[in-house]
């Protein structure tokens, strides 16, 4: 605080400072000035809350969650949130603060660390809260979303808390703590910060950090999750977090020296906690509290914060009393290996406790939680599967170890998929004996430390049934991974539970910590040691990242010191090696760095302890609240500008009324703070600006017909503060649909409108949303209709841009931190290839609704509605950059996605959204002999919609091998396909689609041939062999060849094709795979055997079928889930009872054509089917069109075109394709 005080004694000073700073360089009077003006006010409201939490610094990010619903009233929210902790029945873990030495001042007990008992709770609390899973406080999800933030939050939190609290304790009153801390911290922080400064992105800047207290950000939960009841609850917790956060910022917490405030990152933990409370009460409480007390008071407090968020979750829960399972104790050894482990960390509250395994897992942090959670601890360390069974091992005999390992559960996201676990890493270092280290000793219960690694002490939670299943699967997976598959004879390649997710085989302690594969994955989970081996294996090497994915659990740290390698600027992460207590060795450049004292300071004991209990070292995914060194200018406010096409064509589609209505509904949920600005610009062949100045009685429309030199009429009032001019905005949105009714102007001056928008926003940056319904034909950027019919793979220029106008404009936007998102609603050719450039280089997103019409095409209307609501309310990060670092010897070859590459490893992302995925091809430049593992680290620096600068860091660790067999066994076929799809798009653009198809086939062929060369010739005869890990590659390649993006069909519309290519570039792996290779479920075979856990509900599941007509029978109901569309095929032999139950019709013949919804009938069959379908729909961040197709319908092709393994007019069946490939191998 001192710093803060010094710089900005009070909030007000802060504000002033801001203004001063702003005005001169960065912000111009125009829009900005206005925006900013509000700032002070905004802060004002927060301040109170700030007081509360400030001290804590920790803002439990989690708190946020609830906010989502309320979005509007920030102040109110904050207050609520802030208080929430207090009020909660359960002891709240008030803000957990990790105090730095400076902070020490506060009475440890009081402030930072609630009594030990509290801590646990706190941790949990934090966990949830901190995580902020907020369903996006700001972002808000569609109402539909399951979680009711506030209430749930309470719920979620409470349980966990209760558990913990019960144990302990006293809840520390957050407020007091917070207050006390801030001041102390500040001074400290200053000094520290300097050291910590991040070189790359920002320079030290004058501006104070986040002055905006508001800034609480909660992390949004995955969209999916959010919707799913399960997740939501977890998320909800955030409230506390939010509150805590809010305050801190205000008070200038930003500067706080406090090292760490973390929210408990582990989603797992949280969920568990909540559940635990009830379920495993004793344990949780006991465990936590003790450790906390002894060791890390701070942690305890912060548990949330500190605690090992992700990884070790399991550990935490164990109550001291509850003896750790033997296994755990043993574990220490393992831990020791890694680091002297400080089990101290004991805090891992997170993990295990976990409540309902099912629910949480989905979103939870990736790796950690999952592992921790469900499984009973392996009996002993030894049990841990160390070694792989030799390849030869019979596929199924599960190694004993496997049983113990049951990580699969974790697979949070995947839920169903068991990750194949592999035993040990070859490279692992010999385990170090656990250090008697002070910390350890200090630890109260001896058991704790171990537990932390393993996490779950054993008790499985109730409801773990699924876990058991997954465990088995996991075991199978291990063995399976070594299996050789003869593709010609083995037809059942897709497990009914879904395709397994490959994970790197790391030593167990690291494995648990590793980044969630849904967030970050590498195509090869065993990296070849040198490029020769890589080229021998002929597999593509790359990483796929979904950096801003909504996470249910995310540790957030506010610290004055962000520990980074001095040479390569890597953030400290779980995979570094601690040389001793004061030094750590960077895992990317191998430099040995000093550890700042603050990093190991334990505020509770006022001693310096084990650095390993820090959340940074316990979680591979973590978020820092950045100090001012990371800012080049004050964090920008959320600024949204909507460009609406109002030409004849646009009015005709009727989208305006739908858009206006949705925006009206969601206006209060737009992510942002009190400074949020909004503006509208309509265009046909003229530009229509809207003056929304506060003092007007109604919106004023200003028409600018001059397109060539578009000027901004009254530039100050075109972008207005959302809260101050709300009435005018509502008024405008109400009028908008009628305003242009009957407009006969057909021209569309998109180019000029974008130029004007760029001018308008260039002072602040922000987001431009474009609704375009036709080819732009007027003014600058006008395009010609290039659609000369079909492209048969030869003519590539038509899938590339026609002009670089949009690209240049896009780069200009990018430089001003403006992103452009494009909604294409065109019925006719609109040259998406050219227009999408505006989004491609400004990190925007593109949505496409071919032939959108509110009346004639109702199927798309729902999808548009869902998409737009999600789009408007999802979390957003502004002025962001992402840097990818990797271990020395690797380098990034090519980037895929929407962004501008600013330097060899830095992506400029004016906006980042939770649905954007990125891919990077890597190359091996030097032999990777320095270490047994390599790491990739993605650091995303962004400004939250609350005006906070944050850094989200993901670290992925992958073992290195010199055995080609291990390279194959570790291949991740899903990631490989996703990367190949991206590469194929580039190939299509640079060369031709035909070449891209050949390249794809060759890629799969090369890999399989290379593999089979490793197999003795005697076994190869007459077989087409693939490693188990790559068995689906031919299927997926065939799917890509038949996909609209790459097929050679003459019927494909160019816009469809270009959009599909664009999707290949930006979709995260799991969505991309579904987009390429749809899922087929027999709905008549829904079973309760392996239910999908969704919150409290259990949803029946259906086996996943391969896309072959052989799997279709006349008497069934089949659901084709193609990502953006679902088709329900009604077999002609379907029973009348089924028809009656599902459709409410007496028989097959009376099922109407073109049903786009399932009737809600009161019978179990209908409910089960609807539950399942709704679950699928909710599990993706975008809308779905749904269509019921009768077997005798003329639309049947819509369904059967996705039967990729069948022969189609000019494409091969799967079997033919295999033979074709095999034929090529012999040539």
């Amino acid at each position: 605080m001192a710093d803060g005080n010094q710089a900005y004694p009070t909030n007000q000073p802060h504000q002033e400072m801001q203004r001063q700073n702003e005005q001169p360089p960065l912000f111009l009077p125009q829009g900005v000035g206005q925006n900013k003006a509000p700032t002070p006010a905004s802060n004002g409201p927060f301040q109170p809350s700030g007081a509360f939490h400030t001290g804590a610094h920790w803002r439990p990010l989690t708190a946020l969650p609830q906010s989502s619903p309320n979005m509007n009233g920030f102040p109110a929210q904050h207050l609520q949130q802030s208080r929430m902790p207090i009020t909660n029945p359960a002891p709240q873990p008030p803000p957990h603060v990790y105090q730095t030495p400076n902070l020490q001042q506060r009475p440890p007990g009081q402030v930072s660390y609630p009594p030990p008992s509290v801590q646990p709770a706190g941790s949990f609390m934090n966990g949830p809260g901190n995580t902020n899973i907020r369903p996006s406080a700001t972002s808000n999800f569609p109402p539909s979303v399951g979680f009711a933030p506030p209430p749930r939050a309470g719920y979620g939190m409470a349980p966990p808390q209760s558990g913990n609290q019960a144990v302990g304790s006293p809840q520390p009153p957050p407020p007091s703590q917070s207050l006390g801390q801030p001041p102390s911290s500040l001074p400290y922080s200053v000094g520290v910060q300097g050291s910590a400064g991040d070189g790359q992105q920002s320079r030290p800047n004058e501006l104070p950090m986040p002055f905006h207290g508001q800034g609480q950000y909660s992390h949004q939960v995955n969209p999916l999750q959010q919707r799913t009841p399960i997740t939501t609850p977890t998320n909800s917790e955030p409230s506390s977090e939010r509150s805590s956060r809010g305050p801190s910022p205000v008070s200038g917490s930003t500067i706080d020296a406090l090292e760490g405030q973390f929210s408990p990152g582990h989603g797992v933990a949280k969920s568990p906690t909540s559940s635990q409370g009830p379920r495993m009460p004793p344990v949780a409480t006991g465990t936590f509290s003790p450790p906390l007390q002894g060791h890390l008071p701070a942690q305890s407090m912060g548990q949330p914060v500190f605690l090992p968020p992700p990884p070790r979750p399991g550990f935490p829960l164990i109550p001291p009393q509850s003896a750790l399972p033997p296994s755990q104790q043993q574990l220490p050894g393992q831990l020791g290996q890694r680091l002297p482990p400080p089990p101290t960390s004991g805090f891992s509250p997170m993990g295990q406790p976990s409540g309902p395994p099912g629910a949480q897992p989905r979103f939870s942090h990736p790796p950690l939680p999952s592992t921790a959670r469900g499984f009973p601890p392996p009996p002993s360390s030894s049990t841990v599967p160390n070694a792989f069974p030799p390849p030869s091992v019979p596929p199924f005999a599960p190694p004993p170890s496997s049983g113990s390992v049951s990580p699969p559960m974790a697979g949070a996201g995947t839920g169903s998929l068991p990750p194949p676990l592999r035993g040990s890493m070859p490279g692992t270092q010999p385990p170090l004996p656990p250090l008697p280290g002070s910390q350890y000793s200090s630890m109260p219960p001896a058991g704790l430390p171990p537990s932390y690694q393993y996490g779950q002490p054993g008790p499985q939670q109730p409801g773990v049934g699924m876990n058991a299943v997954t465990q088995n699967l996991g075991a199978m997976g291990i063995q399976e991974s070594q299996r050789v598959v003869n593709l010609l004879t083995e037809r059942q390649l897709i497990p009914p539970e879904g395709i397994e997710t490959a994970k790197p085989v790391l030593p167990n302690d690291l494995k648990k910590v590793n980044c969630n594969p849904d967030v970050f994955r590498c195509t090869l989970n065993a990296l070849p040691q040198n490029s020769a081996l890589l080229s021998k294996a002929r597999l593509p090497l790359g990483i796929l990242i979904h950096p801003f994915r909504d996470l249910s659990q995310l540790p957030v740290i506010q610290s004055s010191v962000i520990v980074r390698c001095r040479s390569c600027r890597t953030y400290i992460n779980p995979f570094v090696v601690f040389v001793d207590q004061r030094r750590w060795k960077c895992n990317l450049c191998f430099r040995v760095n000093d550890l700042p004292d603050e990093f190991s300071f334990d505020p509770v004991t006022k001693t310096y302890g084990d650095p390993q209990r820090r959340p940074e070292v316990k979680s591979a995914t973590i978020e820092f609240i950045a100090p001012s060194e990371y800012m080049l200018r004050p964090p920008q406010p959320a600024v949204y500008l909507y460009l609406l096409d109002v030409s004849f064509n646009a009015v005709e589609t009727g989208y305006l009324s739908q858009f206006s209505q949705i925006l009206l509904d969601e206006l209060d949920k737009l992510p942002g703070d009190a400074r949020t600005s909004i503006g509208f610009l309509c265009y046909d062949s003229s530009l229509y600006f809207f003056n929304l100045a506060e003092n007007l009685s109604q919106p004023q429309m200003l028409c600018v017909p001059d397109l060539e030199d578009a000027f901004l009429p009254c530039p100050d009032n075109l972008l207005v503060n959302l809260h101050e001019s709300k009435e005018l905005i509502v008024d405008l949105l109400n009028q908008l649909p009628n305003l242009f009714q009957g407009n006969l102007e057909t021209g569309s001056a998109l180019g000029a409108a974008l130029q004007a928008a760029h001018k308008l926003m260039s002072l602040t940056g922000g987001r431009i949303t474009v609704m375009q319904t036709c080819l732009p034909t007027a003014g600058p950027g006008a395009l010609q209709n290039r659609d000369a019919g079909n492209i048969a793979g030869k003519n590539t220029s038509i899938i590339g841009p026609a002009t670089d106008f949009y690209k240049k404009l896009s780069l200009d936007c990018s430089a001003q931190q403006i992103a452009v998102d494009l909604f294409m609603l065109n019925g006719q050719y609109a040259d998406i290839a050219t227009l999408s450039c505006i989004s491609k280089y400004s990190a925007g997103s593109v949505y496409y609704y071919p032939s959108f019409h509110t009346v004639k095409n109702p199927g798309l209307v729902d999808k548009f509605d869902t998409d737009l609501r999600r789009y408007l309310t999802r979390k957003i990060g502004f002025e962001s950059v992402m840097r990818i670092r990797c271990t020395r010897g690797l380098s990034i070859h090519t980037f895929h996605g929407n962004f501008f590459v600013r330097s060899t490893d830095l992506l400029s992302l004016p906006n980042i959204n939770p649905d954007a995925g990125f891919g990077m091809q890597m190359s091996i430049e030097d032999n990777l002999v320095d270490s047994s593992t390599v790491s990739f680290q993605a650091a995303l620096l962004y400004t939250s919609s609350k005006g906070e600068r944050r850094i989200r860091v993901h670290t992925l660790c992958v073992p290195v091998t010199n055995q080609i067999s291990e390279v194959f066994a570790g291949a991740d076929q899903q990631a490989i396909i996703a990367l190949l799809a991206k590469m194929a798009v580039d190939k299509s653009l640079n060369s031709s689609i035909t070449d891209a198809r050949d390249a794809m086939m060759n890629a799969s062929l090369d890999a399989l041939v290379s593999f089979s060369q490793q197999i003795p010739a005697s076994q190869r005869v007459g077989a087409f062999l693939a490693p188990y890990s790559l068995r689906l590659v031919p299927v997926f390649i065939l799917a890509m060849l038949k996909h609209v993006a790459f097929n050679l069909s003459g019927n494909t519309k160019i816009d469809d094709r270009v959009f599909a290519m664009q999707q290949c570039k930006v979709l995260p792996v799991s969505y991309l795979l579904q987009y390429l290779h749809p899922h087929l479920y027999p709905l008549h075979r829904l079973s309760d055997e392996k239910p999908i856990k969704c919150g409290k509900e259990e949803i029946p599941s259906a086996p996943l079928l391969q896309l072959s007509s052989a799997n279709i029978d006349r008497t069934g109901l089949f659901l084709m889930d193609a990502g953006e569309a679902m088709y329900l095929l009604v077999g002609s032999g379907i029973g009348d009872q089924m028809c009656q139950d599902v459709f409410g019709k007496p028989n097959f013949m009376s099922v109407p054509e073109g049903m786009m919804d399932l009737p809600e009938l009161e019978n179990p069959t209908s409910e089960r089917i609807r539950n399942f379908v709704n679950y699928l729909m909710d599990s993706r961040p975008y809308g779905v069109t749904f269509l019921v197709i009768r077997d005798d319908s003329k639309h049947r092709q819509l369904f059967f075109q996705h039967m990729l393994e069948d022969r189609a007019e000019n494409s091969m069946s799967y079997y033919e394709f295999l033979q074709f490939l095999q034929g090529k191998t012999k040539v």
């Binding site: 670089d804 380098s891 600013r902």
Partner: protein, 144 residues
């Protein structure tokens, strides 16, 4: 010994080749800067793109002079590079201005590697031609 038009061409080519060598070195340095993160690709492309056409023009210009001077051997020597230049320029990314380098794709390792390789090869070529012109100039001066 007489100062023929051919000799004049060689002298001129000598000077212009020296200029081209500077151009190429500038390219190489610029791409190296990109590779090592010193420069923003947009700035770098903006500074490189205006140099592309002048380089091609200079090269074509003195080749044309050689043609006029009937130094067919020298023309043949330069012909491959001219053809390469023309092809390269025809296949450039879609751009409204002059130039070859697109800031959005130049950071692709393949593109960057190719540009750098091209720079080195051209540097070698120009150096060789520099000495070749020097030799030829003297030869023409002496022999005529």
């Amino acid at each position: 010994m007489a100062f023929t038009f051919a000799a004049f061409c060689y002298i001129l080519a000598l000077i212009l080749t020296a200029v081209l060598i500077f151009f190429v070195i500038f390219h190489i340095i610029a791409f190296d800067e990109l590779k090592t993160d010193y420069k923003n690709p947009i700035d770098q492309c903006n500074s490189l793109n205006p140099l592309v056409i002048p380089e091609y023009a200079i090269h074509m210009f003195f080749t044309l002079l050689f043609l006029i001077a009937l130094q067919l051997g020298t023309v043949l020597f330069n012909l491959p590079l001219i053809i390469y230049h023309i092809r390269r320029y025809m296949n450039r990314p879609v751009m409204s201005g002059m130039g070859l380098y697109d800031p959005t794709s130049i950071m692709n390792a393949d593109e960057l590697g190719r540009a750098q390789k091209e720079g080195w090869v051209k540097l070698g070529f120009y150096l060789i031609s520099f000495f070749y012109y020097l030799y030829s100039m003297i030869y023409v001066l002496v022999s005529s």
